[in-house]
Amino acid sequence: MFGNPLTILTLGPICAGFAFMLVAWAAPPSKRKEISQYIRLLIFAFSLLLLSLSTLMFLESYSGISWTSLGLSDYAYDNCINAEVAIEAGGCSLVDGFGVSWHVGVDGLSFPMVWLTTLLIPISMLVEWNAKKGAQFHSLILMMEGALIGVFVSLDLFVFYTFWELTLIPMFFLILLWGGDDRKYAAQKFFIYTFTASVLMLLGILVMYYFTRVPVWEGNITGRAFDITLMASSSNNLGSAFLGGFGMQKAVFLLLLVGFAAKMPSVPVHTWLPDAHVQAPTAGSMLLAGVMLKMGAYGFLRIAVELLPAAMVHYQLLLIILGMVSLVYGAMVCLGQTNLKRMVAYSSVSHMGLIFLGIATMQPLGIAGAIFMMLAHGVISPYLFAVCGAFKHHYHTLEIGSMRGIAKFSPWLGGHMMTAWMGSLGLPLMAGFVAEVAIMIAFWMAFGWWVILPALTLIITAAYYLWSMQRTIFEGGDAGELPDTLHDEPVDISWHENAGMFAMAVCAVLLGVLPFIFFDMMSSYSNDFVTEVLLDVLNEVIP
């Protein structure tokens, strides 16, 4: 159970983070500074180790896993294959008494997210290398990594939910202890929103649990289990009778939708995001946008869509409306923003709308595009936030109009800003473009010329990005304009910020030029899902 690489990826960082935190806390005051520098290095090395582990897991030549030939309910590194038998045998059970198991596994949907998490952690540490109280800061990020990976790899809803809530705690403290001026309010709002939404999600999960009866095994006194694979098989076998009937499926779907939409976030439950982003430290923002928002999309696909496909078909229109509104509203709000970070935050809302649209097309390409969007946005939006953070750090402002001519004062920052902005608006040969094109084509295949609506919105996206670039990087004449908040000479970004940003730029371009690195496994997943599950449901619903 503990030899599984996914278990190591999950529990390793959490335990190591705790240990480092304790060491940093217990260090004698006279040597605290020195020790904390060593700890920072150790934590960074540890996160690189995890990154190399996940990369090795990915390489087919090394791990021997053929990602594109995994079946729909097959998982790589599954510690509990054939769960019904394996749990009873005691190989992976956590609490027999009420059917909780330590069941982990990855497939084409979750593995890219795991890899993304392991990638972003060292990068975000690098970008915020000199954080105050660095040892604690970096240990918190390390703990966060474990919790995030736990969400992506656990195939047991109880464990999933636990990790889901666990991610809140480090993020809450990152915002609260290292955040901006209004951090208390932002942290509170962040916590209340996501927690309330996840309580509704918990209700949905519990309903599913109550309907997942398993053959009573030794010690299981409730006779039920939280295992996703068991739920999936009963969902497949029972069809419309799953959860007692279609009505209950719809109700549960809506509950789950609220929980996941608040995390993604989608309009109308998105209002916590801009506040949290603006107040969070740079590394916190990067992880929030890069990975935490993906938890919502991932959970939606893994639980709501995979287990309740019929309800998804039923609520297709709702998903389209939510996606469209998020897309358009997010973009329009971006146009009106004067705060750089707030603008980037709303652009996340807008991009997450595309994910809903991609899923709602119910085409293999659309779902694969939505998953690729998760990955692309997961690389590019941290890049955006890293740029915003560097801007704030060096110029002490985030107002768009207050500073003109970055390219003149800080050429590296200007260059990164331009790359990131271009990547996010969907420049060809960068990751975002692939995802957008895939979703648009699928949308066209599904709904024909309606594709004009989302496609036109991309113009607004281009508009706000280009406009904000014009007002910050260029303009200002030969002398440029410096903000009032800057009292020293303007300087360029430091080496570690530069290194982190470069890493993200390389990834964004690499995924744009060679998307098949991950796109293949995603499309194999979505193909299997559509052909094996969704088509049956569609035939059943629309005879």
């Binding site: 008494g97 464990v159 109550y210 039920r224 009937g245 109700a251």
Partner: protein, 591 residues
């Protein structure tokens, strides 16, 4: 005669070893602190031979130490807990672990071959409850150990004239005497509660109940140096004694009806009735009032917040955990063991269901609006009583004598699990408050401000207790609520439930008790607000002082153990062990 048999019969002595240990502890508690250097001179002329008789005179340094009584009671309870636990460890379901004690004092294995009626019955169910009771009281003893030397200073000042040395001796004496009083009462409560857990006769049960109650009234009023202590004790005593009197009247009505107070005989007569006898019904109703007071169910809960906030925190913790568990034992014995029909649902389901709904909602609303952490915990205890009552209502649907008891066992197991883990996090939070109380704080929310800066570990522990009370996974509080709700759902939703006629039609076809499960969920969500508020003020408000809390090493260790237990009983192998234990106990209850 029977008392003699009780002690001399080796079998009885073995079976009741935990209880006898308590009695030995009580005796020791009376004797040891009185040991001294007293001697008397042999009345032989012209000699001065003095023989020590150990009582009286100046006491030894050890026996006069204020720590001794606490040590005696804590070790007695520890010993009793271990004995009870040990008897549960191996094969708890076999017949050789079920014993009945007859009125003659003889012990009968698996209650076979008895001619005399049985007074006490020892099985997995009662043993588990004993473990809970002893555990709670032991933790309370540990907590008071480090804070009792809060001697009433004004009493010493009156003695100052007697000189400095005299003064010290008086302080010591007072401390020691107070300790003896307190721990003696604590052991009495333990004895009373274990009698309740074992009783198979309503009258014996009542005696145990009163022994525990009377002792706990005094314990509540024990902090006599404050104004609130005696007031709370008085209120609790008046309301409690009225409730007990009503219960006793109910028992006498049942006796009038049946001529016998054996639970099994009462059950048999209840079954034999064609229609419900008003005499029996009235008797039962009166007993339920007493229980309502014990478990602090609305509308009998009104004294509870006052009592909790006036009593010392560890004592309040005892009221919130052990006392409540005792109440639910009586409820199970009276309602389920006596009045369950052969088939179908029990007649009291609507009443208990209504009580449950009112109790949990009222408790949560009260907790939301209270600024005193102890009152808040008191109201949260009321809310938890509501959740348990909802489970009892579901039990009324499914525990009929002739049906199978799978669901009923699940519900009882869930209740027992809840009552067991409640000890960890409910009593744990009272223990934290007890640390604050030692410095004269703890009765206002402001006293918790910035606790995390003063004591990070203790504050984290309290935060985890709060989360567990709210039922956040993967803590044990979540698991217990999950089991309770599972039980209610299982009792009301059947496999054949279908949504063919639409969602609303299916919902309407459910038994109304199902909505109690929903109400439990909603109330838990509501309760998050006040539980999280405690966490918020601890971590994010400015502390009134930077001083650390009292040293109290044992109390700190106990709190940490409670925290670890709260986590470990939520997920992992320990949770599994406890689940096995409680489901065995539930099986024992129905066999």
């Amino acid at each position: 005669m029977s008392t003699l048999t009780l002690i001399s019969d080796p079998q009885t002595a073995t079976v009741l070893l935990p209880e006898f240990t308590l009695i030995v502890g009580i005796v020791l508690l009376i004797l040891i602190p009185n040991l001294g250097k007293g001697t008397f001179r042999l009345p032989i002329p012209n000699t001065n031979i003095r023989l020590p008789y150990l009582f009286g005179g100046e006491r030894f340094a050890i026996t006069s130490s204020p720590r001794v009584p606490g040590a005696i009671s804590v070790f007695t309870l520890l010993f009793s807990t271990s004995l009870a636990l040990w008897s549960q460890m191996e094969n708890p379901l076999s017949d050789s672990n079920v014993w009945c004690i007859a009125t003659t004092g003889e012990a009968f294995i698996s209650c076979a071959g008895m001619i005399e009626p049985s007074l006490l019955q020892i099985d997995g169910f009662s043993r588990l409850l004993e473990i809970v009771f002893y555990g709670v009281l032991m933790l309370c003893g540990v907590a008071m150990w480090s804070r009792m030397p809060a001697t009433p200073r004004f009493m010493i000042r009156a003695q100052v004239l007697a000189g400095r040395r005299e003064d010290e001796r008086i302080v010591k004496l007072l401390d020691n005497r107070r300790q003896v009083d307190f721990h003696l009462l604590l052991l009495m409560v333990a004895l009373g509660m274990s009698v309740v857990a074992l009783a198979s006769d309503l009258f014996v049960l009542f005696i145990g109940l009163e022994l525990a109650s009377l002792s706990s009234y005094v314990l509540v009023a024990f902090m006599k140096e404050t104004d609130e202590g005696p007031e709370a004790g008085m209120k609790y005593f008046i309301v409690g004694s009225v409730a007990s009197a009503i219960g006793l009247y109910g028992i006498s009505l049942l006796y009038l009806w049946n001529g016998n107070l054996q639970i099994s005989e009462l059950a048999a007569s209840w079954q034999a009735m064609d229609s419900i006898d008003p005499l029996a019904l009235a008797g039962l109703g009166f007993i339920v009032v007493t229980i309502g007071f014990k478990v602090s169910a609305a509308p009998f809960h009104l004294a509870a917040p006052d009592a909790y906030s006036g009593a010392a925190s560890p004592v309040a913790g005892v009221l919130a955990t052990a006392s409540k568990a005792m109440g639910f034992v009586v409820l199970l014995r009276v309602l389920v063991a006596i009045t369950m029909p052969d088939s179908g649902e029990a007649f009291w389901v609507p009443i208990v269901g209504l009580l449950a709904a009112v109790t949990m909602t009222w408790g949560n609303l009260g907790a939301l609006s209270s600024e005193n952490p102890k009152r808040m915990l008191a109201y949260s205890s009321v809310a938890h009583a509501g959740y348990l009552l909802a489970a009892v209502a579901a039990l009324g649907l499914n525990a009929s004598r002739e049906g199978d008891h799978v669901v009923a066992e699940l519900i009882v197991a869930a209740m027992l699990f809840h009552l067991t883990v409640l000890v960890l996090f409910k009593l744990g939070s009272f223990l934290v408050l007890s640390m604050l109380e030692s410095e004269g704080r703890g009765s206002k929310l402001e006293d918790l401000y910035g606790l995390a800066r003063r004591e990070p570990l203790i504050a984290t522990a309290l935060f985890i207790f709060m989360l567990s009370l709210a039922g956040v996974p993967p803590l044990s509080g979540f698991l217990s609520k999950l089991l309770l709700v599972s039980g209610i759902v299982d009792a009301t939703v059947h496999n054949t439930m279908s949504f063919d006629d639409g969602f609303m039609a299916a919902i309407r076809s459910l038994h109304w008790v199902f909505f109690l499960a929903l109400l439990v969920f909603l109330n838990s969500a509501l309760s998050l607000f006040y539980y999280l508020r405690v966490g918020w003020v601890m971590f994010f408000e400015k502390p009134p002082t930077r001083k650390r809390l009292v040293y109290a090493p044992f109390l700190r260790i106990t709190i940490m153990l409670c925290m670890v237990g709260t986590l470990a009983f939520g997920i992992g192998p320990l949770a599994d062990h406890l689940l096995t234990l409680v489901s065995n106990a539930a099986t024992a209850f129905f066999s």
